[in-house]
């Protein structure tokens, strides 16, 4: 691939966890990676690592709930690179609490980042991708397929991502746009999302939550972020060229049991 033909991937929430691992993986595959995160400092560190490994990319401060920000971001990428070839809607938040304790404000915050963010991202990307072709991967969760008593808002937001993905996939296919859209459903992954959510609980409640999760994973361990990045890499690549509207579950057997 010559420099001018280099494909561009935009990954949201790429300053940490799964997004970070994905940014590093796609850079290794030859993408110019736009490492977007609400936390610019974290994104910058990821870009430093990508460059140290010989890859290309740049950091971008972006809040995925900001509608105007999405338009600017995509316009800028298209203006400077001639197109956008992959979008990974990865940014997400989670809080652990039962429905009786969940506030409407907390509920809305979760929906806005996890669901609105994906809607806005897909809408913005389609306009750029419909000419050059592309792949969109929406990071849902096994919690978009099964329920958890302590994750009502998160469950609803991830279920929304799963169904929205199918709708957009069908829309693109029926319009004849060369854009594939799939969702990925990780099980529990050792990232700051999980450790931070647990840190907000009383230690005994955190232990209880962890024990209940671990008991439900047949493989007996959480995933490493790189293992999920491998799935995203597959969905972005031409190797999955006949997949659209599909779900890739990577959960150590959680939902099979």
């Amino acid at each position: 691939m010559t420099k001018t033909q280099q494909q561009v991937a935009l990954i949201t929430g790429a300053g940490a966890g799964i997004g970070r691992a994905t940014a590093i993986a796609l850079a290794a595959d030859g993408f110019c990676v736009v490492v977007s995160d609400i936390n610019l400092e974290a994104a910058t560190l990821v870009v430093e690592q990508i460059k140290a490994e010989g890859g290309a990319g740049y950091a971008l401060r972006q809040d995925v709930v900001d509608e105007a920000g999405w338009r600017d971001t995509v316009d800028q990428i298209v203006a400077s690179h001639g197109g956008l070839h992959a979008l990974i809607n990865n940014a997400g938040v989670a809080t652990i609490c039962g429905i009786e304790e969940e506030s409407l404000e907390g509920w809305r915050r979760t929906q806005s980042v996890n669901a609105d963010g994906v809607f806005l991202g897909c809408r913005a990307a389609i306009s750029a991708m419909k000419h050059c072709g592309g792949a969109i991967v929406n990071v849902s969760s096994i919690e978009g397929i099964v329920g958890d008593p302590m994750l009502p808002a998160y469950n609803a937001s991830k279920g929304s991502v799963r169904a929205l993905t199918k709708s957009i996939a069908l829309y693109c296919a029926r319009q004849g746009f060369p854009i594939r859209v799939n969702s990925i459903h990780p099980g529990y992954v050792a990232t700051p999302l999980v450790s931070n959510a647990l840190a907000e609980l009383e230690p005994s409640a955190a232990d209880e939550f962890t024990a209940s999760v671990m008991a439900k994973i047949p493989m007996g361990r959480m995933a490493e972020p790189e293992e999920i990045a491998s799935g995203i890499r597959f969905l972005v690549s031409g190797e999955s060229s006949y997949m659209t509207g599909a779900e890739l579950i990577m959960d150590g057997g959680y939902t099979a049991a």
Binding site: P218, A223, R233, Y242, A246, M250, G252, T255, A256
Partner: protein, 271 residues
């Protein structure tokens, strides 16, 4: 070919039904990505021809005649594998047949025949692989089993009752064996692959069957109807699309996947 990340270098694979269609594409694709491939098929001549072709291109491939519905055949094939290689990492349970027709016209003998080829095969193959791949087994280094189900194992399609029932069984057997092997620490992952309609000899049987059950007046009309109305991407899948998905499941890139379904169907079941 996939990037190095999905490499099968140093791995040994057994692929059943490798004489034709999806199985043949898997054999080629896996060999190209570095695996030693034992390609088996009930049609020994056809799989021999494929192996000769791949060996001539410099790949590590061996052909063997194998009826997947026969327990003795499995024992013989696994012995042959052990004679040829020191390990066994991947099993693609691909061999299968299609019998269509209206449910009320299907014969019990047809059901028994399709069950024996499409289900007994998965049961036997998984059993042999589990014993050989688990830590105490003959090869003992864990592995990845890929079972060919179908979207017909997920949804209903006219004329597909008995075929779909076998593919539903494959889906379910996959989940049970995956969870069991994980629980016992075998280090063996098991996942099912669900192709949509793929352009193979079997794929064309589906068009024929649509005509026979009265859903279309000609095979080309059946194909048009399926492509235009039922497949959002508007085309049949290619064998290569399925082979690459199987490679992903076989490779370490899917190390956290077990008991999962990988659907590759051009959007068929998303609608």
């Amino acid at each position: 070919m996939m990037s190095d990340h999905f490499s099968l270098q140093g791995k040994v694979a057994l692929i059943t039904g490798a004489g034709n269609g999806i199985g043949a594409a898997c054999a080629r694709c896996f060999a190209q990505s570095g695996a030693a491939v034992m390609a088996s098929d009930i049609n020994g001549e056809r799989v021999e021809a494929l192996a000769r072709e791949l060996v001539a291109e410099g790949f590590k491939v061996k052909a063997i005649q194998h009826d997947v519905a026969k327990e003795d055949d499995w024992a013989r094939v696994v012995d042959a594998l052990a004679d040829w290689q020191d390990g066994w990492d991947i099993l693609v349970n691909n061999a299968g047949i299609y019998i269509g027709g209206k449910l009320e016209e299907n014969l019990l003998s047809q059901l028994h025949r399709i069950n024996s080829i499409n289900i007994d095969s998965i049961f036997l193959g998984t059993q042999f692989a589990a014993s050989a791949m688990q830590p105490d087994g003959r090869f003992g280094r864990g592995g990845s089993i890929i079972n060919l189900s179908s979207i017909a194992g997920l949804i209903g399609v006219p004329g597909h009752s008995i075929y779909g029932a076998t593919k539903g069984a494959v889906r379910s057997l996959t989940k049970h064996s995956a969870v069991e092997f994980a629980a016992f620490g075998y280090g063996i992952r098991v996942n099912s692959l669900h192709p949509g309609l793929i352009a193979t000899d079997m794929g064309h049987l589906v068009f024929k069957d649509f005509v026979e059950v009265g859903l279309a007046s000609s095979e080309s009309e059946a194909q048009q109807m399926l492509e235009k109305q039922m497949i959002p991407m508007g085309r049949l899948g290619d064998v290569q699309d399925i082979a690459l998905a199987a490679q992903f499941l076989a490779s370490d890139a899917s190390s956290y996947m077990t008991g999962s379904e990988l659907t590759v169907d051009g959007g068929f079941t998303a609608t």
